[in-house]
Each structure stands twice: as C-alpha cells, then as structure tokens.
C-alpha cells in the first residue's frame, strides 16, 4: 500500500491547486487521475505525441501544471479510483500498478459530467454532450461535425458554440431554454463584478452572430432526426413551466447536435465513503455536506471543485487550496497559514455570490419532462423507454428502486449517471414529492467500472473468512 500525507482524486483545476498547495507546504502527495494528461476537462490539451503544439507552460495554468514534476508528488495518470474501503484509504485500478493509497487526508476533486436530458432521437450518433464536443476539439483536434446545433441550458453552451466556430464548424443555432435576454438585463449589475467574463461572453455572441448563428432563447430541441446518424433537428418554444409549443416548430439540417443542461458533480466516492449529501439543483444535484473548511461529514475527507458542487474553474482553484490549508491547520496553526486561509475564505465568498448570479440568469424551465415521448429511451444503456417506465409504475412499481429493478434502468454501463436524475424527476412528479425525498438506489463499489484483471495486481492479503462448515476441520 502506498502512503502519503494527502491523496488527491482528480488532476483538474481543483486537484492541481490542492496538490500545489500541499507540496508547497512540504506535504507528500499521491495524485490520481483517470486521464493520461493532467488538466481535467477545463485545461484539456492535445496528446503529447502531437507536434508543433503550444503547450501550457507559462501563466497561471503553467504554474498549476508544474506540480506534476515535483519530487514530493506521485502522479498516477490513467488511474480509476474505485472504492473507499476504509477511512483514509482509496482503492485504485491502473493496470499492473493497481493498489491502494493510505493518507492522513483525502481530497476528492473528481470533477463533473454533463447533464443531458432525454428527448426523441437523443441516442442517435452525432448527438454529443457539450463536454464531448469540447474534448473532441481541444483534446483531439477533431471537429465533431460540420453543421452544428448547440442546445440546452446554461453558460457552457456559449463556450461550446465558440469552440466549434473556432474549429471551423458552422454553428447554425444556439438554442437556450431559459428566457435569457430578460433575465440578463435584470442581473447585469451583479455580473458587472466580473467585467472580463461579461465582456468575453458579449464578444463571443457577436462573433457567432456575425458568422450566422441564430440565438433562439426560450426554446428547446424537441427531436433529433436521422436514419443511422443525425440529419436534422426540430426546435420549439418552451415556457418557464416546461410546456412545449408544438405548433411552432423549426427544423434545421445538422450533422451534429451538442447538448447540455449544466453539470452534475461526480459524487460516487463521497457517497461510497458514507459522507452525508443534500440535494441542491443550484449546485448540480446531489452534493456532499461540507464545513467552511470543505471537509465532508467524514473526518479527513475533503470534497472540492465541480466534483462537489458546480461552481467553475476559479472556484475550484480556491476550494482545492482551501481544503489543503484546512487539513494543515488541523496539525499546526501558524499565523501565516491562518492569514492565507482568511484570504481564500474571502475569495470563496465572492465566487459563491457570482455563482448565484449566473444560476439566476440561466434559471431553466421548471421541468424538461415535456420533451420526453413514450418511445424516448430514458436509460440509454439499457434502452428503457418512458412507456416501459409508466407501464411498470402502473403495475405498482412506483418507487425509484422498484422502477430500476423492473426495467433495468440505470443498470447498464454508465451506472445510472445519465438517467437516474430523470427517473427521479418522473417519479417525484408522479407522486407529488421532492426528488430529495425519493428512494435513490444506493451506490456500491466499484465507483466506476474497472477491469477485474487490474485488481488481481493488487497486493492485498486474502480477507479473513469464517471457517467453511463444508470443509473437513483443520484443512
């Protein structure tokens, strides 16, 4: 078993900031990440084998990346953390290097996933998430389509559209479900605290408009059409209650549809560790309860960045540093550590207020369930349609777990990441209760699928088993 002062899960902005803070104060660190290069989704770079590429070296990002080469840091790329077998221990799969890490403090900075929502045709090839589109361009230098529609809800759609435009794609429309313009005007004041971001957003909108992109607000994609791959996209107005006006449908030809309705934190590990969670749509859904130190209800286990609560890159950096400082302050309370902690606390306050303002501008319709037709797969992996879920509910399987066991929804290879939130909305609406009060299926290891062969490399002593009554005594 490896040991370190601090084990960090995730080498995105939050994890790198935490690692930098830790080695800067003399701590030893094990940094585990599912990707082959550091940076997470935000700082995703082209493969190292590519030539003539401007690598992240200087500036703030460059300083973040430097920690990877620090002698007190052990970096494990291509590594999946799949369990928290006991307090202070993480189990990870990384081919022949698979094993466990024991640390005084654990910082989970596991990042987030897109929250795409079901509509007819959303399983067609050519329909990709906003993150998937970003990564294909930023991480692979491949344009995911030529004629693209970007649709959903939230500030990331504009980023995705701009990246596509810069990659040479024609962005035919940016379809935003929130009635954006009205709210934007009313909240410009609060956003003006961050003039750089505001100016950038306006400049991107102007560039897209100049290139022919239509900005459709208060609208949603109601269907993706195509035989074996995406060919066209139908769009219709959606009001703040989620009612879809199917009498005013626009259909655009497209070979790529980029979808996103915000992000959801990856809370598998904090759930497996037994941390208490609460449900807050503003923060992306289920989010671990955290103290001002960002410590979860499990002592010594900290959760930071978008993997805990969606807040963006700047907040992730400040949170990663805060968690490590808090862990340090539990050992020794020097005046300089306290001062740095106080400065970071002020920064966290400011960024949290900014998050609230952005969430208000992009406040989505109350529900997107009106987009789901009976034949729409709600669970992509197991191909479970709305009609099947309603059929099982009509036969008495009304809870989430009953719906899961009767239909196989969420039992496929994504482990429910892209369907359980929708099932919760369906069941909660049907029963007239809040999603937080439902019987969400419990989580079990592995947190993410791992190859059994990897785990055979783990040098773990055989577990102490009770004596087998069927064997002769003493054998």
């Amino acid at each position: 078993m490896k040991t370190a002062d601090i084990a960090i899960v995730g080498a995105g902005p939050a994890g790198l900031a935490a690692a930098g803070e830790a080695v800067g104060h003399g701590l030893s660190v094990v940094l585990m990440d599912d990707n082959s290069q550091p940076g997470g989704q935000y700082f995703r770079q082209l493969p190292h084998q590519f030539h003539h590429v401007d690598r992240i070296r200087g500036g703030r990002a460059g300083r973040l990346f430097k920690v990877i080469d620090h002698p007190r840091l052990h970096y494990l790329p291509d590594c999946v953390v799949w369990n928290v077998p006991e307090a202070g221990v993480l189990a990870y799969a990384a081919g022949a290097d698979s094993g466990r890490v024991r640390a005084d403090a654990i910082v989970v900075a596991a990042g987030a996933t897109d929250r795409p929502l079901p509509f007819p045709g959303w399983t067609l090839p050519g329909v990709v998430t906003a993150g998937g589109s970003q990564n294909m361009i930023k991480g692979q230098g491949v344009r995911p389509g030529e004629h693209v529609v970007v649709a959903g809800n939230g500030p990331l759609l504009l980023v995705a559209a701009m990246t596509l435009l810069n990659a040479g794609a024609t962005v035919r429309a940016l379809v935003e479900a929130a009635p954006f313009q009205k709210r934007a005007r009313s909240r410009l004041m609060s956003l003006s605290r961050s003039p750089t971001l505001l100016a950038q957003a306006l400049s991107w909108r102007l560039q897209l408009a100049a290139a022919g992109t239509s900005f459709l607000t208060g609208q949603a994609v109601i269907e993706a059409h195509g035989a074996s791959a995406l060919e066209a996209v139908s769009i219709a107005p959606i009001d703040h209650l989620g009612n879809v006006d199917r009498t005013h449908v626009t259909t655009l030809r497209a070979d790529c549809l980029v979808v996103g309705n915000g992000l959801a934190p990856a809370v598998e590990l904090t759930r497996l560790a037994g941390c208490a969670h609460h449900h807050d749509p503003l923060l992306g859904g289920w989010t671990p309860r955290r103290s001002a130190d960002l410590e979860t209800t499990v002592p010594g286990l900290y959760a930071v960045g978008d993997g805990a609560a969606i807040g963006g890159m700047e907040l992730a950096l400040a949170e990663g540093r805060t968690a490590v400082l808090a862990a340090l302050l539990q050992r020794s309370a020097s005046a300089s550590l306290r001062r740095r902690r106080r400065n970071l606390a002020r920064r966290l306050d400011r960024l949290n207020r900014f998050r609230a303002a952005v969430a208000d501008i992009f406040a989505p319709p109350e529900t997107f369930l009106g987009l789901i037709t009976p034949a729409t797969p709600v669970c992509r992996c197991e191909n479970v349609t709305l009609a099947e879920l309603e059929g099982s509910a009509a036969e008495g399987a009304t809870g989430m777990v009953q719906q899961k066991s009767t239909t196989r929804l969420s039992m496929g290879r994504c482990q429910g990441r892209y369907c359980l939130a929708t099932l919760a909305d369906l069941v909660a609406t049907r029963r007239g209760i809040g999603v937080a009060d439902l019987d969400w299926p419990r989580i079990r290891p592995p947190a993410r699928p791992v190859r059994l062969g990897d785990l055979l490399h783990e040098a773990v002593p055989p577990p102490a088993l009770p004596e087998d009554p069927h064997l002769p005594r003493g054998s």
Partner: protein, 91 residues
C-alpha cells in the same frame, strides 16, 4: 492523403500516419489520437457521447479485448477495432 477535413492543425505529420481496422475497414489514425477521434474523423459515425470516459457508450473490442473506451484509448498501428451493436433504439 491529407489529415482529412475534420482534423484540425496542428499536431499531425503525414509520415506518422498509420491504419487501424475498424469493423474490417481501414481507417487512418495518428499517434496520440483516440480511437473515437480516428473513427469520427474517418466518418464512421461512432457511438460518442460524453467524451470523458464516463458514459461508456463508445466502448469497443480492441484486438479481442472487450470494454475498451474508444474516447480514452489511443489508436495504435495495426489495431483491430470492433464496434458493438447499439442497444438503444433510434426512437
């Protein structure tokens, strides 16, 4: 053959191009490129959704080994890639 219209500069040099066999069809690829990127740039309409190794829709069989994430796994010269029949209907 050039890098193809969907591939963007910079990064790829012509001398390093190699071929993978996707469902029996030769598809060009470059060092460092993911299997998913090679399939997408090769107009194979692959299953590709989250792009960050989480949804696992892109899993393929590589040289007989199942459960390989096409979006997270680099292509390699001579690699045989078999895509899976899609379970989801096109509702």
């Amino acid at each position: 053959m050039t890098a193809g219209t969907r591939r963007l500069p910079p990064g790829r040099v012509e001398e390093e191009r190699f071929t993978i066999l996707a469902d029996g069809v030769p598809v060009p690829a470059w060092p460092g490129e993911s299997i998913a990127a090679a399939l997408l740039a090769g107009a194979r309409s692959p299953a590709y959704f989250c792009g960050m190794g989480v949804c696992r829709e892109c899993v393929v069989v590589v040289n007989g080994q199942a459960g390989v994430r096409a979006c997270m796994t680099p292509a390699a010269p001579g690699m045989t890639v078999d895509t899976l029949p899609r379970r989801g209907s096109q509702a």
